[in-house]
Amino acid sequence: MSTARHLADPQAALLEVTAPPIVVVDHVGKTYGTGPAAVHAVQDVSFTIQPGELIALVGRSGSGKTTLLNMIGGLDRPDAGTVTVDGREVSTLTEKGLVALRRDVVSFVFQTFGLVPVLSATENVGIPLRLRALPTDVREARVALLLELVGLTAHARQRPGEMSGGQQQRVAIARALANSPRLLIADEPTGQLDTETGLAIMALLRAVVQAEGMTALISTHDPLMIQLADRVVRLADGKLVED
């Protein structure tokens, strides 16, 4: 049994293709500002994502990718339409519900890695586990496992400023996997990396998503990255132009 399989959520293994979609985006719209200065970041976007899929969200800069990801991840609320994740309608969740969603169901990988600069790799990866108040020994074992998964065992005590961009993004991925989320959202995860490192990160993402049986929604505008996706959702000026 592989390490990735060992880490898998038992429920995830039972998912079937015919299972209900994990993400339903239904006529979602988001506007910033009002009047003539209003910016329609997302307009009437609808699509669904089945469990286990790796979706590439494609679009040029300013096309609304990040806004859409934030709404799906419960970081922002749509002005119109609904977003349902793992059966929960995100737009109607309370603050507490949103916290639970981000802690237990969804996890993020940021373009700028989003690591806490004063914490070591181990401590950064341990953050989601602390949020779930896991026992210390369980947390330490899982963090060690995740760092091994992303190939950073030797860098466990280093802080972000002491690692390369690729290493930092691996730490970020390990952290995103820590709580075995149902949905992994990555916003331009290779945006700050060179092509080779970016490909390696995408490959890693591809591998862990498959191994963990989770769903991934990754925004990118890199054609090479798009090739690794199961499906491509393309946005232009906030509108869905391809699914």
């Binding site: 990040t66 806004t67 934030n70 991840g73 970081l75 922002d76 603050e95 507490k96 916290v99 639970a100 981000r102 802690r103 237990d104 996890s107 993020f108 940021f110 373009q111 700028t112 989003g114 806490v116 600069p117 004063v118 914490l119 401590e123 953050i127 989601p128 602390r130 949020l131 779930r132 108040a133 896991l134 026992p135 210390t136 947390r139 802080r159 972000p160 400023g161 002491e162 952290r175 709580n179």
Partner: protein, 1098 residues
């Protein structure tokens, strides 16, 4: 608009929160320092003028005495007025003049010399005396050309004058006759100090006044003043002998320059006035206590100034620390931006110029706003009760010193803001790398600056201990010594930072074991961003230390001033300057409502020396202060802490009498006594007379000697009546006869020559019998207790025999017999005393250490005390200070024992200088007021003195400074922590947003920030309390001094007002929690998505 101004403006708009925070802190710091400037300038000046204005007129007036002689009085008086006006300069004044005639001979009354009387124009006489009958003179003369006079009651009674009586006068200077007519009779009732200008000190009569031209060899009775109008004296109707011109400068609202100028002129005023009036008078004098009053007030102000400056420097340290924290956080906030600018080609000078422009703008705004706020804060402070009562509640306006202080503070703050930018600039990468792993030891610790500060503080503290006070002679301040406490504070707080890494490491270890995120987040922040943490800890340590110190200083200072007042006064209330006879004083004092105990007291300076060895003559070697009071246990009169305990009871028992003396009680409430004296001499001594005296004691233990008329030594019984009082007030009974005196004197003929030859020795027998109490004309026998009496010869050369027998009418008689020499008789020292008072051979005293040092004495040694009669005393105890004698050589003695020796030795001094009254704080003010207004006495209350030493205009600045700094510590701590939280959260908002994206709840993040500040706060509060306590223990005793800057007596006892300190800390912690929580909640409110969208554009 140049690029730098544009950039600065846009940056200020974008970073308005942090800029506003920095500006607010700068304004707060400058405002507080400006308030201190007002305390040191406007407040001081106001305090000085209020003090001088509130001083009694005798302390501030200028007085010139002129002996006119045969000169023209009008011209001399006018010149004196002009000369005094020169001294007072531009100050408004009020003037008055006493003009007195030379003594005039009055109609003879049977004495050897004609009695004398004099006339005087007494200003404001209505306030100084009360008419018994008639009026005050309204014109110089009546229609018959007689001078209108209002005479003292003593003269009216003696000469049987009434309104309308004509008084023939004959000048002793020119023998010119004049006539006066009595238009009224008065009693002296007003302020005795103002009657000091009178020839007879307001007594109305002097039975032993030297006849002019006899060089004091011939005495007669003198009466006066006969109050006349000024016109009567200056218009030529009566001769003028002397004049006293009194000028009272109006000091209220006088400018500092005018006051300083007046003070300078006072040094030479005597010479200048004498030179001006010299040609017009026989002699002149100049007297004024104003220079001393001003000097004393300025000395006290200097003492207050020291405390204000010491506290102000602490405040400056605190304010600069807050600004340093602000500067550091600002620099941290802009580190990336500045590195970026540097990487884009901006030179260090350009970056610095931009920051300098911004700092100058902050300084300019601060300078513009802070003085106005300081003025408001000052007015707010001085509007409070205690400051208002001190007379400081006035608008200081915006003096130059305030602008200067605020501008200087603003510029210092601006420089502080630039400080962090002066460090070597680095690239973006280098700057980021430096943030990865910060050295847990701060820059101060790494550089050893804290240890250097400790060394400096130790030197300053040592100097302060050596010199005892930063007040220099002349009222200046030693800058090094006054900075000592601030250095101590700064050093202590800096050393505290060495604890931070240890605490952080411990917290991290705990965090590592924690299952949750909140506490670890706090621990990581403290441990891994020590720069931010150390600033907050330093600030809170300083603030708490200043708060604890200020409260301790305030409580200790107040307590010490009150302790000093207690020792200075010695009892609750001292009443002196009573003009009436001793028994009348006793009645008047007893009638005061609210006293719980009272005692007559002798408090005076006496000559004393070491008791001589046998065969040696005593030698007076020093003068010392003496206080003789009732020391019996249970007489709770003495106040103030004793050197050996909380009160004086134990120490007083070492000098208290152990027996009680009784006497022959006079039944009822007598107004007089009557007795019979029989004197026999063998051989007969017809040229002698017997001068008797009787000592009567009232219920207060007051022993008054009444002289009896001289009787012939002829074996016949002579009955004499002695009035005990001249007032209607009942005496304080029971009265007892406790002593009898018999003095054999040589009879002189009317020319003063001896009447005949005295025998070599005379066997004298004196019998006193038939003692009776007289009340309302009714006589009641007062039996002698036969066993109680004993006798002593005068001089003490033999043991006279006392016989007790029964007279024919069954009344007990006391008979004393002895032999005396003609030498003793001719010198007037031969006689007996008989007394019921217990024998005292040596009077025990408690001596001050200064007295022992001065005379080289030890406990157990004996000294001779000259109280008119030489009394042998034994030092049974010593103390660093004594009640009412905080400093200098002095001793305390039981008044009963002292007067026993006096009565036995024939002394007649009642040993009554003042009254000590015990009364609680509620009753004392009324008692004091009554004593002043109704008894026309001087009353000194320890409560009032304590209040004047703490809440008076001169020392009130200390309280204002300490309350202000306590409030400032609170405000600056809260502002500093709020700023720390603001900037900390703003700098980490993206970090927090990402944590939210990972599932952290917003309340959890707020709790993390709170936990982080709780950790810092716990360290800061703990260290601050310890540092404040150290400051209180070591520095407060050195800063707490007496009003004149001397070491306080009794010694300072440091107080810890736990309730006030606890309340201050609780309020500080609560406000900090509220500020940090509200700031954090407000800053974390923006949506996570928008922050994430902003990315690294923080």
């Amino acid at each position: 608009m140049s690029w730098s101004v544009r950039i600065m403006w846009r940056r200020a708009v974008a970073q308005r929160t942090i800029i506003a925070t920095v500006l607010a802190v700068a304004i707060l710091g400058s405002t507080l320092l400006g308030t201190f400037a007002l305390l040191l300038t406007s407040s001081e000046q106001r305090a000085l003028t209020v003090t001088l204005t509130r001083s009694p007129p005798s302390a501030t007036e200028l007085e010139t005495g002129l002996t006119i002689g045969l000169n023209e009085p009008d011209a001399a008086i006018a010149t004196a007025h002009a000369a005094l006006a020169e001294v007072t300069g531009d100050l408004a004044t009020t003037s008055s003049q006493w003009v007195a005639s030379p003594p005039y001979e009055l109609p003879r009354d049977g004495g050897a010399s004609a009695p004398l009387g004099y006339l005087a124009a007494v200003p404001d006489v209505e306030a100084l005396a009360t008419l018994r009958s008639g009026t005050w003179p309204v014109a110089a003369t009546d229609a018959a050309g007689r001078v209108q006079v209002t005479v003292p009651s003593a003269a009216a009674e003696h000469f049987a004058w009434s309104v309308g009586s004509e008084v023939p006068l004959e000048s002793t200077a020119t023998q010119v006759a004049a006539r006066a007519v009595v238009v009224g009779v008065y009693d002296v009732t007003g302020d005795r100090t103002r009657w000091a200008r009178d020839l007879l000190d307001g007594m109305g009569v002097d039975p032993s006044f030297p006849v002019p031209g006899t060089f004091g060899f011939i005495l007669t009775s003198a009466y006066g003043p006969f109050v006349a109008t000024p016109e009567a004296l200056l218009g030529g109707g009566v001769e003028v002998a002397s004049a006293t011109i009194v000028t009272q400068p109006q000091i209220a609202d006088s400018s500092p320059a005018a006051l300083a100028s007046l003070r300078a002129r006072l040094d030479t005023a005597g010479r200048e006035i004498a030179a001006a009036v010299g040609p017009q008078v026989t002699s002149s004098t100049f007297r004024s206590r104003l220079a001393g009053t001003i000097d004393s007030a300025q000395g006290q102000l200097a003492v207050t100034r020291v405390s204000v400056v010491v506290v102000g420097l602490m405040l400056a340290v605190l304010a600069i620390t807050v600004l340093l924290l602000a500067a550091r956080l600002l620099a941290e906030r802009r580190a990336t931006e500045q590195s970026l600018m540097a990487s884009r080609g901006a030179t260090g000078r350009q970056v610095l110029a931009l920051a300098g422009l911004e700092a100058l703008l902050v300084a300019a705004l601060t300078t513009a706003v802070a003085p106005v706020l300081a003025r408001l804060l000052y007015r707010l402070t001085t509007a409070q009760g205690v400051f208002r009562r001190a007379g400081l509640d006035v608008d200081p306006h915006l003096p130059g010193a305030l602008w200067l202080t605020c501008a200087a503070a603003s510029l210092v703050f601006a420089a502080v803001l630039l400080g962090p930018l002066l460090r070597r600039s680095t690239s973006v990468v280098d700057a980021e790398q430096q943030q990865v792993r910060q050295d847990r030891r701060g820059a101060v610790t790494r550089s050893g600056l804290d240890l250097a500060l400790v060394a400096l503080a130790a030197v300053a503290y040592w100097q302060l201990r050596q010199y005892r006070s930063p007040v220099l002679a002349g009222g200046g301040i030693d800058a090094v010594l006054v900075a000592g406490p601030a250095l101590f504070l700064l050093a202590g707080a800096a050393v505290t930072l060495r604890l931070l890494p240890l605490v952080a490491a411990g917290a991290e270890r705990l965090a590592a074991r924690s299952r949750r995120l909140v506490l670890p987040l706090a621990a990581w922040e403290v441990g891994r961003r020590p720069g931010r943490a150390s600033g907050a800890v330093l600030l809170l340590t300083l603030a708490v230390a200043v708060g604890v110190f200020s409260q301790s200083f305030l409580a200790t200072w107040r307590s010490s001033q009150i302790d000093q007042a207690d020792v200075q006064v010695g009892t609750d209330l001292r009443v002196d300057q009573l003009a009436t006879a001793p028994f009348a004083q006793s009645s008047a004092i007893t009638a005061l409502q609210g006293a719980t105990a009272l005692s007559p007291v002798a408090a005076r300076s006496v000559d004393l020396g070491a008791a001589p060895a046998p065969g040696m003559l005593p030698s007076v070697s020093t003068r010392a202060d003496m206080v003789a009071l009732d020391t019996r246990p249970g007489v709770d009169l003495v106040r103030g802490s004793a050197p050996t305990g909380p009160n004086w009871a134990a120490m007083l028992t070492t000098v208290a009498p152990t027996d009680v003396s009784v006497g022959a009680e006079l039944p009822g409430t007598p107004t007089a006594l009557r007795l019979t004296m029989t004197a026999t001499a063998e051989p007969a001594a017809p040229t002698t007379r017997l001068l008797g005296s009787v000592v009567v004691q009232d219920a207060r233990g007051l022993r008054v000697t009444f002289r009896l008329p001289a009787v012939e030594v002829d074996g016949a019984a002579h009955t004499v009546t002695v009035p005990l009082t001249t007032t209607d007030a009942p005496l304080v009974g029971p009265l007892r006869v406790v002593g009898l005196g018999s003095q054999l004197i040589e009879q002189l003929d009317p020319t003063g020559a001896t009447a005949g030859q005295l025998p070599d020795h005379v066997d004298l027998g004196v019998t006193v019998s038939d003692l009776r109490s007289v009340q309302d004309g009714v006589e009641t026998p007062a039996p002698f207790d036969p066993a109680a009496w004993r006798a002593q010869s005068l001089p003490d050369r033999w043991d006279p025999a006392v016989e007790v027998g029964v007279t024919s009418d069954d009344a007990l008689a006391l008979t004393t017999r002895g032999t005396m020499s003609s030498l003793d008789i001719s010198t007037g020292t031969a006689g007996f005393t008989m007394t019921t008072l217990g024998p005292v051979t040596v009077v025990p005293v408690i001596a001050s250490d200064a007295l022992l040092d001065e005379l080289g004495l030890e406990i157990g040694d004996r000294i001779l005390v000259d109280v008119g009669i030489s009394v042998t005393a034994e030092i049974t105890a010593s103390a660093p200070y004594l009640p009412s004698m905080p400093r200098g050589p002095g001793f305390l003695v039981d008044r009963d024992l002292l007067t026993r020796t006096l009565v036995a030795a024939g002394g007649t001094d009642p040993m009554l200088d003042e009254w000590w009254v015990a009364a609680d704080a509620d009753a004392a003010p009324t008692l004091a007021s009554t004593a002043r207004t109704e008894l026309h006495a001087t009353a000194t209350s320890r409560y009032e003195l304590g209040e004047s030493l703490t809440d008076g205009p001169l020392p009130i600045g200390v309280q204002a400074a300490l309350w202000t700094v306590a409030a400032a510590s609170l405000l600056l701590a809260v502002a500093g922590f709020a700023m720390s939280a603001t900037i900390s959260v703003r700098l980490r908002r993206l970090e927090f947003a990402r944590l939210e994206a990972l599932g952290a709840s917003r309340p959890g993040l707020v709790r993390a920030v709170l936990a982080e500040h709780t950790l810092l706060g716990a360290l800061g509060v703990s260290a601050g309390v310890v540092l404040g306590a150290l400051l209180g223990r070591l520095v407060v005793p050195l800063l707490t001094v007496a009003a004149d800057g001397a070491r306080p007596v009794p010694a300072v006892v440091v107080h810890w007002p736990w309730a006030a300190e606890g309340a201050l800390l609780t309020l500080m912690v609560t406000l900090i929690c509220v500020a940090v929580t509200s700031t954090t909640v407000a800053l974390l409110r923006p949506t996570t998505s928008s922050l994430l969208r902003l990315g690294d554009d923080r």
